[in-house]
């Protein structure tokens, strides 16, 4: 079923500069798979080499953290919003 995945500002560069992407998925895992198969550069930012979600990236279904639901097995229903919320450190911006 169609669900909306909200892409955070730091990762939009790897997702065609879009704020959100609509995917077809029944679980959070499927939604992220679908997203990263469309945007392959996003994958390394979301998943570590072990294939697990990185510990500085949280994923929410609506307002609930999937770590406290069924993680990537969390079921989605039509109209759910999946949010990717990475850690950001800025107060000002450390320049390189």
């Amino acid at each position: 079923m169609p669900v909306k995945v909200i892409i955070p500002t730091p990762l939009r560069a790897y997702a065609g500069k879009q704020e959100s992407v609509e995917v077809q998925a029944a679980t959070v895992g499927e939604a992220l798979d679908s997203l990263t198969s469309q945007y392959q550069n996003l994958k390394q930012h979301l998943f570590g080499d072990d294939g697990r979600l990185r510990s500085f990236v949280n994923v929410y279904v609506n307002d609930e953290d999937i770590r406290y639901l069924q993680k990537d097995q969390t079921r989605l229903k039509e109209g759910d919003t999946v949010s990717i919320v990475p850690s950001i450190a800025g107060g000002t911006h450390a320049r390189t």
Partner: protein, 396 residues
């Protein structure tokens, strides 16, 4: 050791706290609200808040806390005001460029409210001084700008059982919450680990809308004031996300992780650690670029161009940076280089440059690996070109 530089105004000490007639007038718009009133205003006067960082977030924080009459405000910063700060760090004036932030900030806050005490800590917050600096304060407000200090502020706050009012920003987006509240989550419950340095968005994607830290810092100030007067619903267990582009606030649930190494039932962090190491960073900020990349200095480049050598200048910055200033180079942003490498002629000598030399170092390594034999990195980028060759090129 904490280096306490200056303490202004009489300490509130042990004597009963009252308001002078001038203070009653100053705070009258608080006093006439039942949610604050005399009781709340005296709580504010007795309160001690530490602001870590006096940058974009620290500016509105410091100003509003001082204006509100928080009796003692500590500020920690080691930096010096530079011109690029003025776009958002509204504590500072043009005349402050080059001054230590802590001095300019203290002067501004004392000017705003001479009845309060400003403690200044002109130092970098470290594992050695954090507990000493934090100990005297009721509430810590985190206005820092990097992962090691964020984890340090968190762990020190958790160890001392002090609330930590957290705000962070990136471009158009902010995150705000209150950590370290009794039974509430901490930063490590939200993010157990920081990103490795390589995955932190680079300067190519960086930047911040000047007003964004103003909004986020003002929300942090509101939360700190609410915690003191004990009114309303604190932003505990909730992560507030703010998107200035869409002009939307969203709220996510934030739970205390029972297995959290800092605040969980079997916490393993019982003292402060080496946060640079924890964040995978040695030394200052980003890791140094590989030092075996062939380079050319701006002066060498200038003399070779003057000689008429056939050099291909490759600019790997973003188009909006090219508009600020350029060396007339051929523009391929670093992120597009692998896809567009066929636009380059590997028989020609290529000089890659960016703003400071970091992205072009990556580009040089990439091109060498792709079979380009004659690629040199412009050392120090267009900034160094401006310093050493042509000061008419603006620096940004």
């Amino acid at each position: 050791m904490a280096t306490k530089i200056g303490i202004s105004a009489p300490a509130t000490g042990e004597q009963p706290v009252t308001l002078s007639n001038e203070e009653v007038l100053r705070y009258s718009r608080h006093l006439i609200m039942p949610e604050v009133g005399m009781d709340g205003q005296l709580k504010l006067k007795r309160a001690k808040i530490l602001c870590v960082g006096t940058g974009g977030l620290g500016a509105p924080l410091g100003l509003y806390l001082a204006a509100a009459g928080v009796g003692r405000i500590g500020i920690v910063d080691f930096d010096v005001v530079d011109r690029t700060n003025l776009q958002r760090q509204i504590l500072f004036s043009s005349g402050d460029v080059g001054r230590p932030k802590i001095e300019a900030a203290a002067q501004r806050l004392r000017g705003l409210n001479p009845d309060i005490q400003i403690d200044t800590f002109k130092t970098k917050l470290t594992s050695d001084n954090a507990l000493d600096i934090f100990r005297d304060y009721d509430i810590i407000v985190d206005g820092t700008d990097n992962f090691p200090t964020r984890y340090l502020v968190n762990d020190a706050s958790v160890l001392l059982k002090k609330p930590n009012v957290y705000g962070s920003i990136f471009r158009f987006e902010g995150q705000i919450t209150v950590f370290g509240y009794p039974d509430g989550p901490c930063y490590r419950c939200l993010y157990p680990e920081p990103p490795p340095p390589g995955l932190v968005p680079s300067c190519a994607e960086g930047g911040v809308l000047g007003v964004l830290p103003g909004i986020v810092g003002a929300i942090q100030a509101a939360e700190a004031l609410k915690l003191i007067i004990g009114k309303g619903e604190p932003l505990v267990g909730r992560l507030l996300l703010f998107d200035a582009l869409g002009m939307r606030f969203r709220e996510l649930k934030l739970r205390k992780n029972p297995d959290c190494p800092a605040c969980g039932t079997h916490a393993t962090i019982t003292k402060l650690i080496d946060y640079a190491e924890f964040c995978g960073i040695r030394g200052e900020e980003a890791p140094m670029p590989q030092n075996n990349v062939p380079e050319i200095t701006p002066r060498e480049l200038k003399s070779r161009l003057d000689r008429g050598d056939d050099l291909f200048i490759l600019d790997v910055r973003e188009p909006h940076e090219y508009q600020i200033c350029n060396l007339g180079g051929y523009l391929i942003p670093l992120g597009e280089l692998s896809r567009r490498v066929n636009e380059l002629d590997s028989s020609r000598e290529v000089i890659a440059h960016c703003r400071s030399g970091k992205r072009s170092t990556e580009a040089t390594v990439f091109l060498r690996n792709a079979g380009f034999r004659k690629v040199l990195n412009l050392k120090g980028g267009i900034l160094a070109w401006s310093d050493e060759v042509d000061p008419s090129v603006p620096k940004y």
